[in-house]
């Protein structure tokens, strides 16, 4: 039917404009999650295939990136469950400390590689919140929904993740004899 065909083209045009430009970002998150190119490609493919099927559920005024990352996390969760890799972690992280220490600024002359190495040293549950909010620009609420944790937990993990990253970077700087400017 002509009407349905037009409707399909219209839906595809919206999907193409909103979702497809985010493919490199979704792949990046997938690769970060599984550290394997082939698996990351499978995850990306499955994410976009599912997103296309359920695109009628996506509301245009919401964050498409967050929606796609949520689908990706769900698919990756199932994959890990199958492999027996998924463990329930007891949430024991502290609330943001009442007394927050002054943090020195990051040392100069660190390269992108130093920063990537440092973030990899940060435990996954902290680094993933840093990446979701600071790199993928998700809001606290979006990150909390995606991870299935309260917003307060996102805030404390983010705070701790950033602090650990800073500590790692200070360590890298010391290792290479780079002076801190802070």
């Amino acid at each position: 039917m002509f009407g349905i065909g037009k409707q399909r083209e219209k839906e595809w045009a919206v999907f193409e404009a909103e979702a497809l430009p985010l493919m490199p970002d979704i792949f990046r998150v997938a690769k970060w999650l599984c550290r394997d190119t082939e698996i990351a490609e499978d995850l990306t493919q499955e994410t976009f295939t599912q997103a296309l099927k359920s695109f009628h559920r996506y509301s245009p005024e919401t964050n498409c990136r967050a929606w796609l990352i949520t689908i990706l996390y769900r698919i990756n969760g199932k994959r890990r469950l199958k492999l027996g890799q998924l463990k329930l972690v007891e949430d024991t992280e502290e609330q943001i400390a009442e007394t927050v220490a002054f943090e020195p600024s990051i040392p100069d002359h660190l390269t992108d590689e130093d920063i990537l190495r440092a973030i990899e040293q940060v435990p996954a549950r902290f680094s993933e919140v840093v990446l979701l909010t600071d790199v993928e620009s998700l809001s606290y609420k979006e990150a909390a929904e995606l991870l299935g944790v309260p917003i307060g937990t996102v805030m404390s993990r983010l705070h701790r993740g950033r602090r650990l990253l800073r500590q790692e970077l200070t360590g890298v700087a010391r290792e290479f004899g780079i002076a801190s400017n802070g």
Binding site: W12, A17, P24, F48, D112, L116, H159
Partner: protein, 310 residues
Amino acid sequence: MDCHEFRRLTDSYLNDELLVETNHDVLRHLENCRDCRAQLEGQRELRFRLRNAVVSAANLQIDTSFASRLQSDLRQTALRPGIWEQLTAGGFGGLRSAALSLACLLVIAIGGFFILGPLNERSAANNDVNQRGQNDTIVEANRARLADAVKVAWNELSSQAVGDHKNCAVKFNLDDRPIPLDEAVRQYGPLNKDIDKAVFEAAKTAFDDDRSAPIKLVEAHVCIFGGRRFTHIVLSRHGKVISVLVTDTDLPAESDSTVTDRIYGASNAAGFSIGTHAIFVVSDMEPAENIQVARAILPVMRRHLETAGA
């Protein structure tokens, strides 16, 4: 607000998660506290550096052939008619009429087989239908290929704009001397007349709700990068350079007057087209801010181009 409270709120301030009133308290505190300003700058810098490092990490980049293959598969899936649609194709309205039409077809087919005519006539009709179906598929495939080609060319144009932004506005590393706008009006026509003022006034409105960091007009000229000529308006905000680049194109737009956004390492390019012109806003700002500027200048650019007869 004191330093202790500010430090407790730094993460949320950086992530733009505070209420407007609290934000104002933070800004007031920052105006008077050099230590907290320094700490905030450090945290902002770390956030910026981390984003850059991850976004441009070579091992986290998608393989372009995989991406285009997946895109093409998705397109096929999305546009393929469902079985029901195939059944009802040709103007039938609903379940009943489709069932009726199927029954009619069956009667005609059986009647044709037993009574009306030779088998080869029916076969010729079928061939005709098949041929039409094949033609439709070819037309559809060609349309898809054309759309993909336009997308690739538009991407190329957008990455040239990013190259011009980096080499001209950031590194001052162009082979040819930029041409001042006055001279460009004489050489290349009225498009360049007062384009800087029009863009600047429109870009200012993009951040109407945050007057703490006004946008500034740095300079405007015409420059050439990668063999392509750009009218280049350089703005700045929060110490970040923002390039508005206008160039000719005979490409049909991805979608006319719709702002599309792409990320190139640390830089974002928000682009749109008006008639035979492609306009890009390139900067290291957050993608949303970049798009905000592009949306603010779009109607002004349309008027400017109309007035210039370009």
